[in-house]
Protein backbone atom coordinates (compact mmCIF):
# COMPACT_ATOMS: atom_id res chain seq x y z
CA UNK A 1 0.00 0.00 0.00
CA UNK A 2 1.31 3.41 -0.93
CA UNK A 3 1.23 5.47 2.23
CA UNK A 4 0.73 8.80 0.44
CA UNK A 5 -2.77 7.67 -0.68
CA UNK A 6 -5.76 9.07 1.18
CA UNK A 7 -8.29 6.45 2.38
CA UNK A 8 -11.98 7.22 2.42
CA UNK A 9 -14.99 5.10 3.36
CA UNK A 10 -16.75 3.80 0.25
CA UNK A 11 -20.04 5.52 -0.54
CA UNK A 12 -22.11 2.51 0.51
CA UNK A 13 -20.38 2.11 3.87
CA UNK A 14 -21.52 3.70 7.10
CA UNK A 15 -19.59 3.98 10.35
CA UNK A 16 -21.75 4.38 13.43
CA UNK A 17 -22.18 3.43 17.04
CA UNK A 18 -24.33 0.40 17.85
CA UNK A 19 -26.91 1.85 20.26
CA UNK A 20 -27.29 -1.52 22.04
CA UNK A 21 -23.63 -2.27 22.76
CA UNK A 22 -22.15 1.24 22.35
CA UNK A 23 -19.49 -0.36 20.15
CA UNK A 24 -18.54 1.11 16.78
CA UNK A 25 -19.81 -0.84 13.77
CA UNK A 26 -19.10 -0.62 10.05
CA UNK A 27 -22.24 -1.19 8.02
CA UNK A 28 -22.33 -2.35 4.38
CA UNK A 29 -24.78 -4.45 2.36
CA UNK A 30 -25.72 -7.49 4.43
CA UNK A 31 -22.66 -7.07 6.59
CA UNK A 32 -22.04 -5.68 10.06
CA UNK A 33 -18.44 -5.45 11.21
CA UNK A 34 -17.91 -4.77 14.89
CA UNK A 35 -14.80 -2.66 15.39
CA UNK A 36 -12.36 -2.51 18.25
CA UNK A 37 -11.15 0.83 19.54
CA UNK A 38 -8.05 0.99 17.33
CA UNK A 39 -9.97 0.08 14.16
CA UNK A 40 -12.48 2.76 15.03
CA UNK A 41 -9.71 5.31 15.57
CA UNK A 42 -8.31 4.47 12.15
CA UNK A 43 -11.63 4.61 10.33
CA UNK A 44 -12.81 7.90 11.82
CA UNK A 45 -9.71 9.38 10.17
CA UNK A 46 -10.51 7.86 6.76
CA UNK A 47 -12.28 10.94 5.44
CA UNK A 48 -10.41 11.31 2.17
CA UNK A 49 -8.31 14.20 3.42
CA UNK A 50 -5.56 12.39 5.34
CA UNK A 51 -2.92 10.10 3.87
CA UNK A 52 -2.24 6.66 5.31
CA UNK A 53 1.08 8.02 6.57
CA UNK A 54 -0.50 10.95 8.39
CA UNK A 55 -3.14 8.67 9.95
CA UNK A 56 -0.32 6.45 11.26
CA UNK A 57 1.50 9.47 12.65
CA UNK A 58 -1.62 10.86 14.30
CA UNK A 59 -2.35 7.54 15.98
CA UNK A 60 1.28 7.13 17.08
CA UNK A 61 1.10 10.46 18.80
CA UNK A 62 -2.28 9.69 20.36
CA UNK A 63 -1.17 6.26 21.63
CA UNK A 64 2.20 7.64 22.71
CA UNK A 65 4.17 5.24 20.52
CA UNK A 66 6.21 5.38 17.31
CA UNK A 67 4.86 5.38 13.77
CA UNK A 68 6.88 2.34 12.61
CA UNK A 69 5.48 0.22 15.43
CA UNK A 70 1.92 0.91 14.24
CA UNK A 71 2.33 1.00 10.49
CA UNK A 72 2.25 -2.76 9.80
CA UNK A 73 -1.07 -3.23 11.60
CA UNK A 74 -2.68 -0.10 10.16
CA UNK A 75 -1.63 -0.96 6.62
CA UNK A 76 -2.79 -4.54 6.98
CA UNK A 77 -6.18 -3.44 8.33
CA UNK A 78 -6.70 -0.89 5.57
CA UNK A 79 -5.54 -3.41 2.97
CA UNK A 80 -8.20 -5.89 4.10
CA UNK A 81 -10.91 -3.24 3.96
CA UNK A 82 -9.76 -2.20 0.50
CA UNK A 83 -9.96 -5.83 -0.70
CA UNK A 84 -13.55 -5.88 0.46
CA UNK A 85 -14.21 -2.55 -1.24
CA UNK A 86 -15.19 -0.95 2.06
CA UNK A 87 -12.68 1.85 1.63
CA UNK A 88 -11.24 3.51 -1.43
CA UNK A 89 -7.76 5.00 -1.71
CA UNK A 90 -7.64 8.44 -3.29
CA UNK A 91 -4.50 9.70 -5.04
Amino acid sequence: MRVELRPSLASHVRLQIDPVTSEPVLLSPENILTLNETSHDILTRCDGSKSVQSIIEELASEYDTTAPSLSVDVIQFLGELQQEKLIILLP
Binding site: A10, S11, H12, R14, Q16, D18, P19, V20, V25, L27, S28, P29, E30, I32, Q82, Q83, E84, K85
Partner: protein
Protein backbone atom coordinates in the same frame (compact mmCIF):
# COMPACT_ATOMS: atom_id res chain seq x y z
CA UNK B 1 -32.18 -10.97 26.21
CA UNK B 2 -30.16 -13.64 24.49
CA UNK B 3 -31.09 -13.05 20.85
CA UNK B 4 -31.20 -9.78 19.03
CA UNK B 5 -32.43 -9.01 15.52
CA UNK B 6 -29.78 -7.25 13.46
CA UNK B 7 -31.60 -6.99 10.15
CA UNK B 8 -35.18 -6.41 9.08
CA UNK B 9 -36.34 -7.51 5.66
CA UNK B 10 -39.28 -5.32 4.70
CA UNK B 11 -41.25 -6.98 1.91
CA UNK B 12 -43.28 -3.84 1.28
CA UNK B 13 -45.37 -5.24 -1.56
CA UNK B 14 -45.98 -8.54 -3.33
CA UNK B 15 -46.68 -6.74 -6.62
CA UNK B 16 -43.92 -7.08 -9.21
CA UNK B 17 -43.49 -6.39 -12.93
CA UNK B 18 -41.32 -9.52 -13.22
CA UNK B 19 -42.53 -13.11 -13.13
CA UNK B 20 -39.35 -15.03 -12.27
CA UNK B 21 -40.07 -18.74 -11.84
CA UNK B 22 -37.75 -19.02 -8.80
CA UNK B 23 -39.31 -16.18 -6.82
CA UNK B 24 -39.22 -16.92 -3.09
CA UNK B 25 -42.58 -15.24 -2.52
CA UNK B 26 -45.37 -17.56 -1.42
CA UNK B 27 -47.38 -19.20 -4.21
CA UNK B 28 -50.56 -18.43 -2.27
CA UNK B 29 -50.43 -14.85 -1.08
CA UNK B 30 -51.82 -14.05 2.32
CA UNK B 31 -55.06 -12.14 2.05
CA UNK B 32 -55.10 -8.61 3.37
CA UNK B 33 -54.17 -5.07 2.49
CA UNK B 34 -50.59 -3.83 2.29
CA UNK B 35 -49.29 -2.04 5.38
CA UNK B 36 -49.80 1.70 5.21
CA UNK B 37 -47.01 4.27 5.38
CA UNK B 38 -47.83 4.95 9.03
CA UNK B 39 -47.74 1.26 9.87
CA UNK B 40 -44.35 0.78 8.19
CA UNK B 41 -42.98 3.81 10.00
CA UNK B 42 -43.98 2.29 13.31
CA UNK B 43 -42.44 -1.07 12.35
CA UNK B 44 -39.18 0.66 11.42
CA UNK B 45 -39.08 2.56 14.72
CA UNK B 46 -39.82 -0.53 16.78
CA UNK B 47 -37.22 -2.55 14.90
CA UNK B 48 -34.55 0.07 15.54
CA UNK B 49 -35.32 0.20 19.23
CA UNK B 50 -35.04 -3.60 19.37
CA UNK B 51 -31.47 -3.45 18.04
CA UNK B 52 -31.94 -3.77 14.27
CA UNK B 53 -29.11 -2.03 12.37
CA UNK B 54 -29.99 -2.82 8.78
CA UNK B 55 -33.16 -2.75 6.73
CA UNK B 56 -33.64 -4.32 3.31
CA UNK B 57 -36.54 -3.00 1.26
CA UNK B 58 -37.73 -5.85 -0.86
CA UNK B 59 -40.90 -7.34 -2.28
CA UNK B 60 -42.23 -7.97 -4.92
CA UNK B 61 -40.87 -4.79 -6.37
CA UNK B 62 -40.43 -2.19 -3.63
CA UNK B 63 -40.34 0.68 -6.16
CA UNK B 64 -44.06 0.09 -6.71
CA UNK B 65 -44.64 1.72 -3.32
CA UNK B 66 -44.89 5.45 -3.92
CA UNK B 67 -43.97 6.06 -0.26
CA UNK B 68 -40.64 4.23 -0.52
CA UNK B 69 -38.53 7.39 -0.15
CA UNK B 70 -40.55 8.31 2.91
CA UNK B 71 -39.85 4.91 4.48
CA UNK B 72 -36.14 5.11 3.62
CA UNK B 73 -35.91 8.57 5.16
CA UNK B 74 -37.59 7.23 8.27
CA UNK B 75 -35.15 4.33 8.47
CA UNK B 76 -32.28 6.78 8.11
CA UNK B 77 -33.69 8.97 10.84
CA UNK B 78 -33.71 6.10 13.35
CA UNK B 79 -30.17 5.06 12.40
CA UNK B 80 -30.77 2.08 10.10
CA UNK B 81 -28.55 1.22 7.16
CA UNK B 82 -30.83 0.78 4.15
CA UNK B 83 -30.54 -1.45 1.12
CA UNK B 84 -32.95 -1.47 -1.81
CA UNK B 85 -33.43 -4.92 -3.33
CA UNK B 86 -34.99 -4.25 -6.69
CA UNK B 87 -35.57 -5.51 -10.23
CA UNK B 88 -34.50 -2.03 -11.36
CA UNK B 89 -37.81 -1.57 -13.20
CA UNK B 90 -39.07 1.88 -12.26
CA UNK B 91 -35.71 3.25 -11.19
CA UNK B 92 -35.50 6.30 -13.41
CA UNK B 93 -33.29 9.26 -12.62
CA UNK B 94 -35.93 11.23 -10.76
CA UNK B 95 -36.81 8.29 -8.56
CA UNK B 96 -33.18 7.39 -7.91
CA UNK B 97 -32.43 10.98 -6.86
CA UNK B 98 -35.43 10.98 -4.57
CA UNK B 99 -34.16 7.79 -2.87
CA UNK B 100 -30.64 9.15 -2.59
CA UNK B 101 -31.91 12.35 -0.96
CA UNK B 102 -33.88 10.19 1.45
CA UNK B 103 -30.62 8.58 2.58
CA UNK B 104 -30.63 5.22 0.80
CA UNK B 105 -27.26 3.53 1.44
CA UNK B 106 -27.09 0.87 -1.26
CA UNK B 107 -28.91 -0.63 -4.22
CA UNK B 108 -29.01 -4.24 -5.34
CA UNK B 109 -30.39 -4.91 -8.82
CA UNK B 110 -31.31 -8.39 -10.02
CA UNK B 111 -30.25 -9.70 -13.42
CA UNK B 112 -31.36 -12.94 -15.00
CA UNK B 113 -28.58 -13.48 -17.55
CA UNK B 114 -25.99 -11.61 -19.61
CA UNK B 115 -28.01 -12.39 -22.76
CA UNK B 116 -31.05 -10.13 -23.23
CA UNK B 117 -33.32 -12.76 -24.84
CA UNK B 118 -32.58 -15.36 -22.19
CA UNK B 119 -32.87 -12.79 -19.39
CA UNK B 120 -36.31 -11.70 -20.58
CA UNK B 121 -37.42 -15.29 -21.01
CA UNK B 122 -36.48 -16.08 -17.42
CA UNK B 123 -38.01 -12.88 -16.03
CA UNK B 124 -41.17 -13.42 -18.07
CA UNK B 125 -41.02 -9.73 -19.01
CA UNK B 126 -39.14 -7.32 -21.25
CA UNK B 127 -36.87 -6.16 -18.51
CA UNK B 128 -33.18 -6.65 -19.26
CA UNK B 129 -32.55 -3.40 -21.12
CA UNK B 130 -34.37 -1.37 -18.47
CA UNK B 131 -32.30 -3.03 -15.76
CA UNK B 132 -29.10 -2.00 -17.47
CA UNK B 133 -30.39 1.58 -17.65
CA UNK B 134 -31.28 1.45 -13.96
CA UNK B 135 -27.77 0.21 -13.12
CA UNK B 136 -26.25 3.10 -15.06
CA UNK B 137 -28.47 5.61 -13.29
CA UNK B 138 -27.51 4.17 -9.89
CA UNK B 139 -23.84 4.29 -10.82
CA UNK B 140 -24.01 7.85 -12.11
CA UNK B 141 -25.54 8.99 -8.83
CA UNK B 142 -22.65 7.47 -6.90
CA UNK B 143 -24.43 4.46 -5.47
CA UNK B 144 -22.15 1.46 -5.06
CA UNK B 145 -24.04 -1.04 -7.16
CA UNK B 146 -24.64 -4.63 -6.12
CA UNK B 147 -25.96 -7.12 -8.64
CA UNK B 148 -27.78 -10.33 -7.84
CA UNK B 149 -28.13 -13.20 -10.28
CA UNK B 150 -30.02 -16.36 -9.40
CA UNK B 151 -28.32 -19.38 -10.95
CA UNK B 152 -30.17 -22.38 -12.31
CA UNK B 153 -30.08 -24.85 -15.16
CA UNK B 154 -30.67 -22.25 -17.89
CA UNK B 155 -27.92 -19.79 -16.96
CA UNK B 156 -25.41 -21.58 -14.72
CA UNK B 157 -23.20 -22.50 -17.68
CA UNK B 158 -22.91 -18.82 -18.55
CA UNK B 159 -21.49 -17.98 -15.14
CA UNK B 160 -18.28 -16.45 -16.47
CA UNK B 161 -20.10 -14.43 -19.14
CA UNK B 162 -22.50 -13.23 -16.42
CA UNK B 163 -19.60 -12.12 -14.23
CA UNK B 164 -18.04 -10.20 -17.13
CA UNK B 165 -21.40 -8.59 -17.90
CA UNK B 166 -21.90 -7.46 -14.29
CA UNK B 167 -18.32 -6.21 -14.22
CA UNK B 168 -19.09 -4.07 -17.28
CA UNK B 169 -21.97 -2.46 -15.38
CA UNK B 170 -19.48 -1.15 -12.83
CA UNK B 171 -20.86 -3.17 -9.92
CA UNK B 172 -18.75 -3.48 -6.78
CA UNK B 173 -20.47 -6.61 -5.53
CA UNK B 174 -22.06 -9.58 -7.21
CA UNK B 175 -24.23 -12.07 -5.46
CA UNK B 176 -24.40 -15.32 -7.43
CA UNK B 177 -27.20 -17.17 -5.74
CA UNK B 178 -27.97 -20.72 -6.71
CA UNK B 179 -31.74 -21.11 -6.86
CA UNK B 180 -33.33 -22.14 -3.59
CA UNK B 181 -36.33 -24.38 -3.83
CA UNK B 182 -39.05 -22.61 -1.89
CA UNK B 183 -42.14 -20.75 -3.08
CA UNK B 184 -42.25 -20.52 -6.88
CA UNK B 185 -38.81 -22.09 -7.02
CA UNK B 186 -40.21 -25.25 -5.42
CA UNK B 187 -43.01 -25.36 -8.00
CA UNK B 188 -40.48 -24.95 -10.85
CA UNK B 189 -37.71 -27.10 -9.44
CA UNK B 190 -38.01 -29.66 -12.22
CA UNK B 191 -37.21 -26.91 -14.73
CA UNK B 192 -34.52 -25.18 -12.66
CA UNK B 193 -32.40 -27.88 -11.04
CA UNK B 194 -28.99 -28.19 -12.72
CA UNK B 195 -26.91 -31.34 -13.07
CA UNK B 196 -24.03 -32.31 -10.79
CA UNK B 197 -21.62 -31.59 -13.65
CA UNK B 198 -23.03 -28.09 -14.15
CA UNK B 199 -22.66 -27.40 -10.44
CA UNK B 200 -19.07 -28.62 -10.38
CA UNK B 201 -18.12 -26.49 -13.37
CA UNK B 202 -19.82 -23.47 -11.78
CA UNK B 203 -17.81 -23.94 -8.60
CA UNK B 204 -14.55 -23.91 -10.58
CA UNK B 205 -15.68 -20.89 -12.58
CA UNK B 206 -16.55 -18.94 -9.42
CA UNK B 207 -13.13 -19.64 -7.91
CA UNK B 208 -11.45 -18.54 -11.11
CA UNK B 209 -13.48 -15.31 -11.38
CA UNK B 210 -12.99 -14.47 -7.70
CA UNK B 211 -9.25 -14.70 -8.14
CA UNK B 212 -9.35 -12.61 -11.30
CA UNK B 213 -11.43 -9.84 -9.70
CA UNK B 214 -9.79 -9.76 -6.28
CA UNK B 215 -9.96 -6.22 -4.91
CA UNK B 216 -12.20 -4.99 -7.74
CA UNK B 217 -15.48 -6.79 -7.40
CA UNK B 218 -16.56 -8.94 -4.50
CA UNK B 219 -18.31 -12.18 -5.49
CA UNK B 220 -20.63 -13.67 -2.91
CA UNK B 221 -21.60 -17.22 -3.84
CA UNK B 222 -24.76 -18.74 -2.39
CA UNK B 223 -24.11 -22.49 -2.43
CA UNK B 224 -26.42 -24.87 -4.28
CA UNK B 225 -27.47 -26.62 -1.12
CA UNK B 226 -29.02 -29.69 -2.77
CA UNK B 227 -25.49 -30.45 -3.98
CA UNK B 228 -23.78 -29.91 -0.62
CA UNK B 229 -23.34 -32.50 2.07
CA UNK B 230 -23.80 -30.06 4.93
CA UNK B 231 -26.87 -27.87 5.41
CA UNK B 232 -26.67 -24.08 5.27
CA UNK B 233 -26.79 -22.25 8.61
CA UNK B 234 -30.20 -20.96 7.59
CA UNK B 235 -30.81 -17.36 8.74
CA UNK B 236 -27.94 -17.94 11.18
CA UNK B 237 -30.49 -19.67 13.33
CA UNK B 238 -34.26 -19.35 13.54
CA UNK B 239 -35.26 -16.15 15.30
CA UNK B 240 -31.67 -15.34 16.20
CA UNK B 241 -30.64 -12.43 13.95
CA UNK B 242 -33.27 -11.75 11.29
CA UNK B 243 -36.85 -10.66 11.09
CA UNK B 244 -39.02 -10.40 7.98
CA UNK B 245 -42.20 -8.37 7.81
CA UNK B 246 -44.26 -9.16 4.72
CA UNK B 247 -46.54 -6.95 2.65
CA UNK B 248 -49.61 -7.55 4.75
CA UNK B 249 -47.82 -7.22 8.10
CA UNK B 250 -47.06 -10.77 9.15
CA UNK B 251 -43.72 -11.03 10.97
CA UNK B 252 -41.69 -14.10 10.02
CA UNK B 253 -38.39 -15.58 11.24
CA UNK B 254 -37.42 -16.08 7.59
CA UNK B 255 -38.90 -14.89 4.29
CA UNK B 256 -40.18 -18.34 3.32
CA UNK B 257 -41.40 -19.46 6.74
CA UNK B 258 -45.02 -19.33 5.62
CA UNK B 259 -44.29 -22.52 3.67
CA UNK B 260 -44.43 -24.39 6.99
CA UNK B 261 -48.11 -25.27 7.21
CA UNK B 262 -48.16 -25.91 10.95
CA UNK B 263 -47.04 -22.38 11.86
CA UNK B 264 -49.18 -19.29 12.24
CA UNK B 265 -47.60 -15.87 12.27
CA UNK B 266 -48.44 -12.82 14.28
CA UNK B 267 -49.10 -9.51 12.60
CA UNK B 268 -47.45 -6.19 13.35
CA UNK B 269 -50.99 -4.83 13.17
CA UNK B 270 -51.81 -6.62 16.43
CA UNK B 271 -48.47 -6.77 18.23
CA UNK B 272 -45.24 -4.84 18.61
CA UNK B 273 -42.12 -6.16 16.89
CA UNK B 274 -40.61 -6.56 20.35
CA UNK B 275 -43.43 -8.83 21.53
CA UNK B 276 -43.29 -10.86 18.33
CA UNK B 277 -39.51 -11.29 18.59
CA UNK B 278 -39.48 -12.22 22.26
CA UNK B 279 -42.81 -13.85 22.95
CA UNK B 280 -44.54 -15.09 19.81
CA UNK B 281 -44.86 -18.81 19.29
CA UNK B 282 -43.54 -18.75 15.72
CA UNK B 283 -40.27 -17.05 16.66
CA UNK B 284 -39.67 -19.26 19.70
CA UNK B 285 -40.62 -22.53 18.04
CA UNK B 286 -37.23 -23.37 16.45
CA UNK B 287 -35.00 -20.95 18.33
CA UNK B 288 -32.03 -22.46 20.13
CA UNK B 289 -31.73 -26.26 20.37
CA UNK B 290 -34.69 -27.50 22.44
CA UNK B 291 -36.73 -28.45 19.39
CA UNK B 292 -33.99 -30.54 17.79
CA UNK B 293 -34.30 -34.25 17.16
CA UNK B 294 -31.54 -36.70 16.35
CA UNK B 295 -29.16 -36.57 14.55
CA UNK B 296 -29.03 -32.79 15.29
CA UNK B 297 -29.65 -32.97 19.02
CA UNK B 298 -26.26 -34.45 19.85
CA UNK B 299 -24.34 -33.31 16.77
CA UNK B 300 -21.29 -31.09 17.35
CA UNK B 301 -22.16 -29.17 14.15
CA UNK B 302 -25.47 -27.94 15.54
CA UNK B 303 -23.91 -24.74 16.88
CA UNK B 304 -22.67 -23.89 13.41
CA UNK B 305 -25.55 -24.95 11.14
CA UNK B 306 -28.52 -24.84 13.57
CA UNK B 307 -29.85 -28.01 11.96
CA UNK B 308 -30.15 -26.27 8.58
CA UNK B 309 -33.39 -24.99 7.15
CA UNK B 310 -36.79 -25.57 8.78
CA UNK B 311 -38.70 -24.78 5.59
CA UNK B 312 -36.72 -27.35 3.65
CA UNK B 313 -37.27 -29.99 6.32
CA UNK B 314 -41.01 -29.27 6.25
CA UNK B 315 -41.28 -29.22 2.45
CA UNK B 316 -39.33 -32.41 1.83
CA UNK B 317 -39.84 -34.56 4.94
CA UNK B 318 -43.22 -33.27 6.06
CA UNK B 319 -41.93 -32.24 9.49
CA UNK B 320 -40.18 -28.91 10.14
CA UNK B 321 -38.31 -30.17 13.22
CA UNK B 322 -36.51 -32.88 11.28
CA UNK B 323 -32.88 -32.40 10.31
CA UNK B 324 -32.58 -30.51 7.02
CA UNK B 325 -32.50 -33.38 4.48
CA UNK B 326 -29.50 -31.71 2.80
CA UNK B 327 -27.35 -33.05 5.65
CA UNK B 328 -25.55 -36.30 4.87
CA UNK B 329 -26.44 -37.43 8.40
CA UNK B 330 -30.17 -36.98 7.76
CA UNK B 331 -32.13 -40.21 7.33
CA UNK B 332 -33.93 -38.34 4.51
CA UNK B 333 -30.87 -37.47 2.44
CA UNK B 334 -31.99 -40.04 -0.12
CA UNK B 335 -34.90 -37.73 -0.99
CA UNK B 336 -32.46 -35.06 -2.18
CA UNK B 337 -30.30 -37.51 -4.11
CA UNK B 338 -33.40 -38.92 -5.76
CA UNK B 339 -34.52 -35.44 -6.81
CA UNK B 340 -31.11 -34.64 -8.30
CA UNK B 341 -31.04 -37.93 -10.23
CA UNK B 342 -34.60 -37.53 -11.51
CA UNK B 343 -34.79 -33.78 -12.13
CA UNK B 344 -31.25 -32.53 -12.69
CA UNK B 345 -30.98 -31.92 -16.43
CA UNK B 346 -29.23 -29.65 -18.86
CA UNK B 347 -32.20 -28.54 -20.91
CA UNK B 348 -35.64 -27.16 -20.20
CA UNK B 349 -38.31 -29.47 -21.53
CA UNK B 350 -41.45 -27.88 -20.17
CA UNK B 351 -42.28 -24.20 -19.79
CA UNK B 352 -41.97 -22.44 -16.44
CA UNK B 353 -44.89 -21.82 -14.18
CA UNK B 354 -44.31 -18.09 -13.99
CA UNK B 355 -44.84 -16.25 -10.77
CA UNK B 356 -48.27 -14.64 -10.61
CA UNK B 357 -49.07 -11.35 -8.93
CA UNK B 358 -51.52 -11.13 -6.05
CA UNK B 359 -54.98 -9.92 -6.97
CA UNK B 360 -54.51 -6.19 -6.62
CA UNK B 361 -58.02 -5.48 -5.36
CA UNK B 362 -57.39 -7.81 -2.44
CA UNK B 363 -53.99 -6.59 -1.49
CA UNK B 364 -53.41 -2.97 -2.41
CA UNK B 365 -54.66 -0.09 -0.30
CA UNK B 366 -54.31 2.35 -3.18
CA UNK B 367 -54.79 2.24 -6.92
CA UNK B 368 -52.18 0.04 -8.57
CA UNK B 369 -49.20 1.85 -9.95
CA UNK B 370 -48.50 1.36 -13.62
CA UNK B 371 -44.84 1.27 -14.56
Amino acid sequence: MKFRPYALLAEVTYRCPLRCPYCSNPTRYPIGTELSTAEWRRVIEEAASLGVLQIGFSGGEPLLRRDLADLIAHARQVGLYSNLITSGIGLDKTRALELKDAGLDSIQISFQSDRPELADLIAGAKAHKRKIEAAQIANNLGFALSANVVLHRQNIERLREIVVFVESLGATRLELANAQYYGWGFVNRENLLPTREQVNRARDAVNHERERLRGNMEIFYVLPDYFEGRPKPCMNGWGQQYITVNAVGDALPCPTASSIPSLRFDSVRNHSIGWIWNESESFRKYRGEEWMREPCRTCPERERDFGGCRCQAALLTGEASNTDPICYLSPHRNIIDGIIDREGRHSVETPYTYRANPKVDLISPAAPTTL
